[in-house]
Assembly symmetry: C2
Homo-oligomer: 331 residues x 2
């Protein structure tokens, strides 16, 4: 591993927008080494006052929806407005999801060459919780480095959506026209999380079906309960290929930002996200202590089996495991 810099060097480099030092600071944050963790903590504390100013946009959609091409076009539009944009990814690249995002920059070639854009793929070798944490912290580093828009990309098939929703100001769902079939891969509950749905690949022969899809989704979504933001979920079309709908989508997001800042939701949501992050992390730590405990690890195999099969009640099984844990901890 490369040599570490000093806390001051990381801080100064990040704040000056130096992308090489920014990258190295992110690597530091992703590190599992104890010394790196202490160093990362100090850097994050230093940059904290310079964070929070970006618009954080979460983007999800199943593989095949054209996410990379969309983000490239969307990012290029943002940089054309002379705004700095960072693209981050929450992708625990689990084989199970089958939706792993290509972890290299080649898929957004043009955007990655743009000096106003910064692309950073998901950290590898971390759990979903670990990826979520490092992405949140990377987001703060990028904000401190002057990025005004942070795009956080994920795949709509696992549990990562809830995590990305929990760190975004605006959550965009990418879809394709075709009445439901393409949705087979998307997880239940994601539709209701979206602040906007964009029907992608609305070009050529697809245009008409995309317009029909807009009507369908608009009708469907007006049956949904309103969000706390008071913003009614919009459905739009776009084509990264033809470059249509991209600018108006960005305008929509800007409108959302303005209206939620005005009605106070923007700040309220950020505060709630911060608190939730703390409580979630407390839970992660507590559960880590518990489930990583050697005695618990041994005993839980049997408990899970008998509870699953209905031979043991969940509550006393849990109590027994907790007793074992506490005795082991206190001895």
């Amino acid at each position: 591993m490369r040599q570490r810099l000093s806390v001051e060097a990381y801080t100064k480099g990040v704040l000056s927008g130096d992308t090489i030092i920014l990258s190295r600071a992110i690597t530091l944050i992703e590190s599992k080494l104890k010394n790196d963790k202490l160093l990362a903590k100090a850097v994050l504390e230093n940059i904290l006052p310079y964070t929070g100013k970006a618009m954080r946009v979460g983007i999800t959609g199943v593989p095949g929806v054209g996410k990379s091409t969309f983000i490239e076009a969307f990012g290029k539009h943002i940089t054309s407005l002379k705004k700095k944009v960072a693209v981050l990814t929450v992708d625990p690249s689990s084989k199970k999801t089958g939706g792993s995002i290509l972890a290299d920059k080649t898929r957004m070639e043009e955007l990655s060459r743009d000096p106003l854009a910064f692309i950073r793929p998901s950290a590898s070798g971390l759990s979903l919780g670990g990826v979520a944490r490092s992405t949140r912290e990377t987001m703060l580093l990028c904000e401190a480095a002057g990025y005004e828009v942070i795009i956080i990309e994920t795949v709509g098939v696992g549990q990562s959506e809830t995590l990305v929703k929990g760190m975004s100001d605006f959550f965009l769902l990418l879809m394709l026209a075709g009445a439901g079939d393409e949705l087979q891969g998307i997880k239940k509950g994601i539709m209701e999380m979206a602040d906007a749905v964009a029907i992608n690949k609305a070009d050529g022969a697809n245009k008409i079906s995309a317009e029909l899809a807009v009507t369908e989704y608009q009708n469907a979504l007006h049956l949904f309960p309103k969000s706390d933001s008071d913003f009614i979920t919009k459905v739009v079309t776009c084509s990264a290929l033809e470059g249509t709908g991209i600018a108006s989508l960005w305008e929509l997001i800007t409108e959302y930002q303005q209206s939620t800042i005005q009605n106070g939701y923007f700040e309220k949501n950020r505060q709630a996200q911060n608190l939730e992050w703390m409580h979630n992390y407390i839970r992660q730590l507590l559960e880590g202590l518990f489930y990583e405990n050697t005695i618990v690890k041994k005993a839980i195999v049997m408990s899970e089996k008998s509870v699953k099969e209905g031979n043991e009640l969940p509550v006393p099984a849990a109590e027994l495991l907790l007793d074992l844990f506490m005795k082991n901890l206190l001895k």
Copy 2:
């Protein structure tokens, strides 16, 4: 408080379907006294082999949707088929939700007089987690007492839906016709949880708008991702007043039961629910230990404030609190 019976007396009474002893066993389960808890645990262990045979139907809907009248008509239909039905409630009667269910039997007068029906309102004075636990255990007691259908009722405004969904085989959402407006009170995410949506009060002048609502919801729901059960969410109309749609809704639930038993989802779902219950309870116990700790209780006030306002990072704040907790625990 009334005198307790012996473990054997509770067990025998419940298994023989004695409703007076069943009621007393439920009271025992709801008790916070240590001795009662031990007694309850022994009773539950005894009856465990006789549980699991009922169809567990969760029902939700905002206040005003006509839940009580519906459940009365639905319950009467089930007893008319010579099946025993139990009606339980998950309602943490929090003032915040504003949707507290009347905690007495007068709202289902006819059903409560039916010898094949058993109605038990939510335990009072418990947290939402506590209510969920006692309802799950009450469900097991009712199954052991021979009830073939368990209806678990809740209000569609809070967090109780997820808990009820987590203990149901089939989740029914009651709605009214009127294109979205009545939904203002319902929480996001509930629509996607439903196995069926019933447009209630489809009688008299409402009939036409109810039929229109069916089409609307059907169109909306076919855009949703499919459930793991492979069962496509149905939208139906019903009227408790005119007695229409009740029988066919029960048939729908029976069909669901048969098809999910056949494709293996029924058992898989039950097993997953059991496991989830254990892990959720472990989390409850761990968080209980943590958040009830005197040192944590004091320190967390400041942490929450500074994290919320963005002056402190969630992760180090959580780590600090956990350090305090562990030191306090181990000293």
